[in-house]
Symmetry: C2
Subunit: 649 residues, 2 copies
């Protein structure tokens, strides 16, 4: 019998990958940041154990693996893609262990990985739903059943555990499954196909990079290239009674004439290189185009780059909430049409904002253009973080942009993609904040930390001191052993009117390139670079086709979008009128740890005893002192009304 643990892959082999920039390995980073440090502390102490309890005790997710291994009674229970929740939790836990190691978390991970390993089949296949319920129907319904999606999350978790913790237990499992998939799918004579929910492409690229095995990247490219070319495999599945048995809704993908009508939802309505708009299921779209960015970055491909830019522009110029939330409709968990961004009914799935952050990061890495990091930052500090409470154990799946007081985060979901997804984002936040390239360091946004990186051919200790996102001022200290020439690039956020640099007390002129201040010089030990970005309360307006923002303004401060809650106002937040000319000042938030609120004069209608409808008169308004809190921190004090866009008095 084949030894499931044998692998011919040599870890770390050099490959043709030449990304413009790479994240800084988490093992090399110490976080000292007030903002992210607190979130990562909650991640380690609260979120990871809470989600483990959900996965292993409250729900049968872990038990499904035991069942697949023949070590527990019964067959898979839950949703057919529930395996992915364990993988995403493992990925988050790996980051957290690199940052804040805790023996009890390592024990949970060991138990989980043991269960996963025991469940894997001799041929490498791994999916507890199919193994326990439909072993004969593997890969029979690629469109609906998420088999490759689950595999992709396994690959990402395995790479995270390997890179962040230096442990290859999960990587070996991933490699065996990847080899299995690579043996089944690919150019003829192998089988053509791709997954209904993109994710494996990203996982394969990461696996290729971690293992140096080009086959995995080739397979990711194959999946991307085949998507939307000619007949969709999902159309054939929709006519296959066995495939439909697995997911009856799949039959609705073809109409009475046999024509395929499901394409946009899966982004396979046309080849990726011909796409110009973001359509369909939002998370699917983000994961696809994130992988496309990876693909373009390793092999120049003008058509792919043009499609990426067109879709990105459509998304960020016409289909994105001010918070970086995306996908307004719950109907398809996704996109509708340009400027359709309703506030109260906004779906804006947490995972979709995370997907946007991932895509923005990948495009930043591929292009060195801060415009992508601007959007990633917007999503991270607003749409993503709103998905989790401050304590770290309650979650939003859909994120309203106006509430009449009926919304609250919950401990878990039947479809629980979001909780472990926000956990892995928080754990890996430095990947979005700082990068290194062959010629130096990139700071997209500052996270107080110490790390060492290869800069200009030398290993350089770097220390960042920031109070972000509350202050635009931060310091970087570099500690090369000897004077070393390298480039430091500091992002100039789109919200920042003026960025100045000071070098050891003297102002420093920098060139600006693609939204970064570029400092190319010889750095000597102990020198300190001070960055000052103007950061003021700033009122925004939206394009007037955004109907729910017509005549309204939204408040921002640096990367943060602010909202108002009824809890602070004493009346329904959506009826707060504002005057963008009034002064607004930062004040400590009335809750949370270190949060900053904004406060200033605003107005409320004088509504005593008015009839429901009467002859029009301008509203009588009363002055109020209004408190605004960061959008990500809303709904942390019970159910209450909330608004992001306020009518202008």
């Amino acid at each position: 019998m084949e030894d499931p643990w044998a692998s011919g892959v040599r870890i770390g082999d050099a490959m043709a990958f030449a990304p413009r920039m790479r994240p800084i390995p988490l093992r090399d980073v110490t976080i000292t940041d007030a903002f992210w440090g607190e979130r990562q502390r909650a991640l380690a102490e609260v979120t990871i154990p809470h989600e483990w309890d959900q996965i292993s005790v409250q729900t049968p997710r872990l038990k499904n693996f035991r069942r697949a291994a023949g070590k527990a009674e019964g067959v898979h229970e839950g949703r057919y893609f529930d395996d992915s929740d364990i993988y995403k939790w493992l990925e988050a836990a790996a980051y957290s262990q690199a940052l804040n190691p805790r023996p009890e978390v390592e024990a949970m991970m060991t138990e989980a990985i043991g269960a996963v390993a025991a469940a894997q089949m001799p041929d490498g296949y791994l999916n507890t739903f199919f193994q326990t319920k439909h072993p004969d129907l593997r890969w029979r319904n690629l469109g609906a059943m998420h088999e490759m999606y689950c595999a992709g999350h396994l690959f990402e978790a395995a790479v995270a555990r390997y890179e962040a913790q230096g442990k290859r237990d999960l990587l070996d499992i991933a490699i065996r499954f990847a080899d299995h998939i690579d043996a089944v799918f690919g150019p003829a004579p192998k089988r053509r196909g791709y997954c209904g929910h993109e994710e494996i492409e990203l996982g394969l690229f990461r696996l290729a990079e971690a293992t140096g095995e080009a086959r995995y990247a080739d397979l990711a490219r194959f999946f991307i290239n085949e998507r939307g070319q000619g007949d969709s495999p999902f159309a054939a599945e929709a006519k296959d009674p066995e495939a439909v048995k697995l997911a009856p809704w799949h039959a609705s993908l073809v109409d009475g004439t046999g024509a395929y009508i499901g394409g946009e939802y899966f982004q396979d309505h046309k080849p990726v290189r011909e796409q110009t708009e973001i359509v369909g299921h939002a998370v699917r779209g983000m994961y696809l185009f994130s992988a496309v960015a990876e693909m373009a970055k390793t092999s120049p491909d003008e058509a792919l780059e043009q499609a990426s830019h067109a879709v990105w522009n459509n998304l960020t110029e016409k289909r994105m909430y001010v918070t970086g939330g995306i996908g307004p409709s719950g109907h398809n968990e996704g996109f509708t049409f340009d400027y359709d961004l309703p506030n109260r009914t906004s779906y804006a799935e947490t995972c979709a904002a995370i997907g946007l952050a991932i895509w923005g990061r990948r495009l930043t890495e591929a292009t060195g253009d801060a415009a992508y990091a601007d959007v990633a930052e917007r999503a991270i500090f607003n749409g993503c973080l709103a998905g989790i409470n401050l304590a770290g154990n309650r979650f939003f799946y859909a994120n309203p942009h106006e509430s009449l007081g009926n919304d609250e985060r919950v401990p878990w979901f039947d479809c629980a993609c979001c909780p472990p997804n926000i956990a892995r984002l928080i754990g890996s936040i430095t990947d979005y904040a700082m990068s290194v390239s062959d010629d130096g360091l990139w700071v997209h946004f500052p996270v107080s930390s110490r790390f060492s990186a290869r800069l200009g051919g030398a290993t350089v200790g770097v220390e960042i001191e920031a109070d972000y996102p509350w202050s635009g001022t931060y310091r970087l200290a570099f500690g090369p052993e000897t004077p070393t020439e390298f480039t430091v690039r500091i992002r100039v956020p789109e919200w920042c009117e003026d960025l100045t640099l000071e070098f050891d007390g003297a102002s420093e002129d920098a060139e600006f390139e693609n939204g970064y201040a570029v400092l190319r010089r010889v750095w000597t030990p102990g020198e300190i670079l001070k960055v000052e970005m103007t950061m003021e309360p700033r009122w925004l307006r939206a394009h007037p086709k955004v109907i729910d923002a017509v005549g309204k303004a939204a408040l921002t401060f640096g990367p943060l979008v602010y909202c108002a809650e009824g809890t602070d106002l004493g009346f329904a937040a959506p009826t707060l009128f504002v005057d963008p000319e009034e002064e607004i000042a930062p004040v400590p938030a009335p809750f949370g740890t270190g949060l900053r609120a904004l406060r200033g004069r605003a107005y409320r209608p004088d509504d005593e005893e008015r009839p429901l409808y009467d002859g029009y008169e301008d509203l009588a308004l009363q002055d109020v002192e209004a408190t605004f809190i960061p959008y990500f921190a809303w709904a942390n004090r019970g159910k209450t009304t909330m608004a992001v866009w306020f009518p202008v008095a």
Copy 2:
């Protein structure tokens, strides 16, 4: 064997009913009205045949009756309350035949009534779902299964056919079924119970009035009195496996502890006399309280009147759209909380607005207070009529109050309550317009017509000439054979700033009482009363807790609410800014027959090439000439954007 056609009921027996006012029998009315005449023409020529096609050809509704009679194969198909659609269609057809008789419609009615008669069981029971599928489970699930609801619509149809057409074929069927129900339900030793969907109460009151049989009114009172008293019968059903088999969702009416949690949806959360807010399913609530008004009008009952007023005030002062649409949420097809009146997602079921018109009419009849007629008129001319297209063959079930262009009426619904309901309203519109009481005539709103009525003890011919709702001026001519003393009451609508009366050319002072101008005098043949109501375009504002109307205004003209459509504007209607100070003038509508539009200067944002979000500046606005059309006439020219509430520039 019992003769199913024998009946001991004497038609027309005098009873204790003493309503303050009654409608004018449709047989005695000739409509000459441009507005309603056109709608009733479409009803006879288009709507009635179209709906008959849906009932008898496109769907198995009529076939279900043949199946119950053993004259067609198979068992009931469709929704278990589909019988009611035939009954409501028959009611509408009866009115239409009284107004615009057509032999082909009479043939349809004969066929339908024949099928109904053949299906009725020897004991009087009649419900094709239970007869063909669950004969052993009759009355086993009162909460979910609408058996009494269907019966109530049979009773209303039967009375309509008898009163409007003088034919008692359907009445005999109704009487037999009513007797059956009366034998089963009532005070001990009969069974306690009431229907999950109120309607039978209204049907029984009408049947009692038409037949003079007090038992039916007593049974209606029993159902109303028992509702919400002590244990709900629906709670016991929710624990009865046989009952739950009929409607699995019914099991969710009790929670894990066995506690009943379904009450508000059915208005049986507390006794009717203790209710103070309108809650739950909107149509159910309207039908219940319409019956309550009937009950209160025949037997003085202070607690019932107080509850009626409290619930009415809550509804009309806090939970009603400006169109008279009610029930904002699709989740429960009903009510949520005070001032929750979202525009884009408004459910505002057509049947609910019709129910509000019915309740308002019944309360007007019971109290003689025009405030109720004001609301009925608002619902009729806006929320109800929007449910049907101008041609008469397309319908809205839910009625948005803002559209981004995705809404259109359709020929029929799986749950098809609304199409025949709007048909019966249009057919019986004079019941809502004019009434007679012992001392004279009431004109709630004018419909050009000729009719004779018993006024002041004499039979008096009345002629009304109006151009309503386009003009506030109308004339009434009275033709008593000899001078006769009676009272004429003319409603002063709440939208009307000034109402003047002229009698044979000379202005006439009237007393005003409960919103009616009261003229008590001796009328001689040929005298003409001229009514002039100021009718000007009028901008409304809403209570500022109506969040979707904050900073906005809505346009009305007489009883009509106006809207704007993208078709006329050339841009998205919800981005139209208005200035209530600008002059607005009536103009012919660009479509329809005789419709009046309103036109005036308004504004649109200058939105060329603006980014999605940028620093706040007041919008640059351009002047536009904006056309507003009656809300009821929207969506008659294909899908387009629409708004009722406009931001004020």
